[in-house]
């Protein structure tokens, strides 16, 4: 088990290094940090001093190593746009994005899985047909359009829910949460639906397809032949066997939710990392952009690791070391 985790972490290293290289290349070759930091009036001596201070006179690989050393400690320097440490900016924005992503993912799972099971079991019921039609909408409409439509209906016409921002938040240490206030929860509804809808329909379709596949297997027929109640057959034997592929997709989608929160955050002016990133792109704020890139890569790598561990927990066939022989 421990060796398994270590090997997975080692496999993630090249991925992170590649992303770091891209981030670093942005630093080094996109825009000129010296020009940006010096402003209009400077002497040649000042300029040389700054180049030396920033380590820009060092060979490429030394600069890269320094960059990685700093990145590993969460050091990405100062934001060009806001002149504040990048780490601080991201830490400030992370709770908003993470709470939004978490809510969207929970929504997608808690609704998508039961809908998938239902439509897989009762293929021909009218409710299944309705769900499937509805899921086509979720898959085919672009996120920003869904967001705008929701705003139009629920914020502009009905006036039930706010159309932008995060509402009131409560501070818990360095974390700020919108879960504890009514306005915070209300503000969460539309963005979470917008962000989670695609994932919800994807999970529903996936669970449905897997469920139909599994229901045809011999062990399900045998479970029925043993007279097990439908509840045990459907939600125990069948659902558990659909979980292995579902975990993969859900894991990848969770990463995607965080990464693609950019669009939703822009539509709803949600004060999260995605919005910060978009604003930084507009201002060519390289340190923030590269830090964001590395953070997203880290999220994907971490989720992949968790997915692998979940496999391990769900599917005993992968626990090779435990085999007691007997073949």
């Amino acid at each position: 088990m421990f060796a398994f985790i270590i090997s997975r972490i080692l496999q993630a290293v090249p991925v992170m290094l590649t992303v770091a290289l891209i981030s670093f290349a942005m630093f080094a070759y996109v825009g000129d940090p010296v020009a940006i930091m010096l402003g209009q009036d400077f002497t040649e001596a000042q300029r040389d001093q700054l180049v030396r201070d920033l380590g820009l006179d060092q060979p490429f690989w030394v600069q890269f190593a320094t960059f990685i050393g700093h990145a590993a400690q969460g050091e990405f320097g100062l934001s060009y746009r806001l002149s504040r440490p990048v780490a601080e900016l991201i830490a400030e924005r992370a709770p908003a994005t993470l709470e939004l992503a978490f809510t969207a993912a929970a929504l997608a799972l808690l609704i998508g899985v039961p809908m998938g099971v239902y439509t897989g079991l009762y293929r021909n019921s009218w409710l299944s047909r309705f769900f499937l039609t509805f899921s086509l909408v979720g898959v085919s409409l672009p996120t920003f359009l869904i967001g705008i439509l929701l705003i139009l209906v629920f914020a502009v016409w009905l006036g039930w829910l706010p159309s932008f921002g995060r509402g009131d938040t409560v501070k818990l240490g360095w974390w700020t949460t919108g879960f504890l206030t009514v306005s915070g929860l209300k503000a969460l509804v539309l963005p979470a639906i917008t962000l989670g809808l695609f994932q919800l329909t994807l999970i529903m379709r996936l669970v449905r397809a897997e469920m139909m596949e599994v229901l045809r297997t011999d062990y399900i027929k045998f479970a029925r032949a043993r007279g097990l109640p439908n509840r045990a057959v459907h939600f125990g034997h069948a659902l558990k066997n659909t979980l292995v592929p579902v975990i993969t997709i859900v894991g990848l989608q969770l990463g995607a939710i965080i990464a693609f929160a950019i669009v939703t955050e822009t539509v709803f002016q949600w004060p999260g990392m995605g919005l910060l990133f978009i604003q930084s792109v507009g201002a060519a704020d390289i340190p923030v952009m590269s830090a964001y890139l590395m953070l997203i890569a880290l999220v994907f790598v971490t989720i992949n690791l968790i997915v692998d561990l979940l496999y391990y927990a769900v599917d005993p066939r992968l626990r090779i070391g435990r085999g007691k022989g007997g073949h």
């Binding site: 045998f222 005993p316 066939r317 007691k324 007997g326």
Partner: protein
């Protein structure tokens, strides 16, 4: 046969599959009885309807297949028209089932102990602790070594033969009166087929369980069955005591089938074919379904379909034994 009231009665069973190109009749007018503790062997070429008959009895015909006519009675009670939930309580509890391929019949994500325990707690008035205790006993009974340790193993940790033993334990653990075993050894290594059949036979005898045993292996039939039903194109061609059907078959198809068996010491996995092939469901010939292949065919066979009639030692669906209208 015997004077005991039959445990299972299948009467004029007809199973249909509605399809876009018309209705396929998979089983037509199938009738037989099984007495308590009796083993009925069921043989016939691939596609004859053996598995279909088993599926109809346990109430698990694959949709859109349905029982269009006839009755199935268990202990005198009709079970073919029960609602799903009522039939579910009978499955496992009163009729156990064994499938062909032990590699696919066990849920790979549940331990064998859990699968045994859930079957027992579903049907018997016992708690999880007692169920676990009995699960270990059942594993011992079917010959799994170190049962107390193996109970928490997953199916993939067992060999094919061992898995089929687990399946047998699962079929028997709620103590059903009848077992439907559909080719229980076909998927197994030849070297262990005999052991598994011996186990099944011994347990059925000890528990007084009746069995419908579908197999292609005439050796198994000869050793295990009390009576044999020979099926052809969705019908019973002949049924009778095992000695008679194997040694002195009356129906020309059974005779051909038995003649194609090699001697007992050189068993083959599949029966050798008689000339020609069994018709597809969509093209079953008029009259006796066997008439295009039958060496003794005569006029009447091409027009009228024979029902099971008394042929002395057995019952055969063949005009040769029709005494009222002698062959002409």
């Amino acid at each position: 046969m015997s004077n005991v009231a039959p445990l299972l009665q299948v009467k004029n069973l007809r199973v249909e599959f509605p399809t876009r190109r018309g209705t396929l009749v998979a089983l037509d007018d199938v009738s037989f009885d099984i007495s308590p503790g009796e083993v009925l062997g069921v043989v016939g070429e691939s596609g004859a309807g053996k598995s279909m008959t088993g599926a109809a009895i346990i109430g698990l015909l694959e949709p859109p297949g349905r029982i269009a006519k006839g009755e199935i009675l268990l202990g005198g009670r009709r079970i073919d028209n029960l609602r799903y939930e009522e039939m579910r309580r009978i499955r496992g509890k009163e009729i156990g089932a064994i499938f062909q391929d032990p590699l696919t019949t066990l849920n790979p994500l549940y331990t064998v102990g859990r699968q045994l325990a859930e079957t027992m707690t579903t049907h018997l008035p016992i708690g999880p602790g007692e169920a676990r205790k009995r699960a270990i006993e059942w594993l011992e009974m079917v010959g799994i070594p170190a049962a107390a340790q193996r109970i928490d193993s997953y199916p993939h940790e067992f060999s094919g033969g061992m898995r089929q033993r687990v399946v047998i334990a699962l079929a028997l653990c709620a103590e059903p009166k009848l077992i439907v075993a559909d080719e229980p050894t076909t998927a197994l290594d030849v070297s262990i087929q005999a052991q598994v059949i011996a186990l099944l036979k011994r347990l059925a005898r000890e528990k007084g369980t009746a069995m419908m045993l579908v197999t292609h292996d005439m050796g198994v039939i000869a050793e295990t069955a009390d009576r044999v039903a020979v099926m052809y194109a969705g019908r019973v061609a002949e049924i009778g005591p095992v000695r008679e059907v194997v040694k002195h078959a009356n129906h020309p198809y059974s005779a051909g089938l038995m003649a194609s068996i090699p001697p007992l010491d050189r068993r083959v996995e599949r029966l050798a074919q008689i000339d020609g092939a069994m018709p597809r469901l969509s093209a079953i010939p008029k009259g006796c379904a066997y008439n295009p292949r039958c060496p003794q065919v005569f006029d009447k066979c091409r027009t009228y379909r024979p029902d099971l009639i008394n042929a002395g030692t057995t019952q055969a669906a063949c005009w040769l034994y029709d005494t009222e209208a002698p062959r002409g």
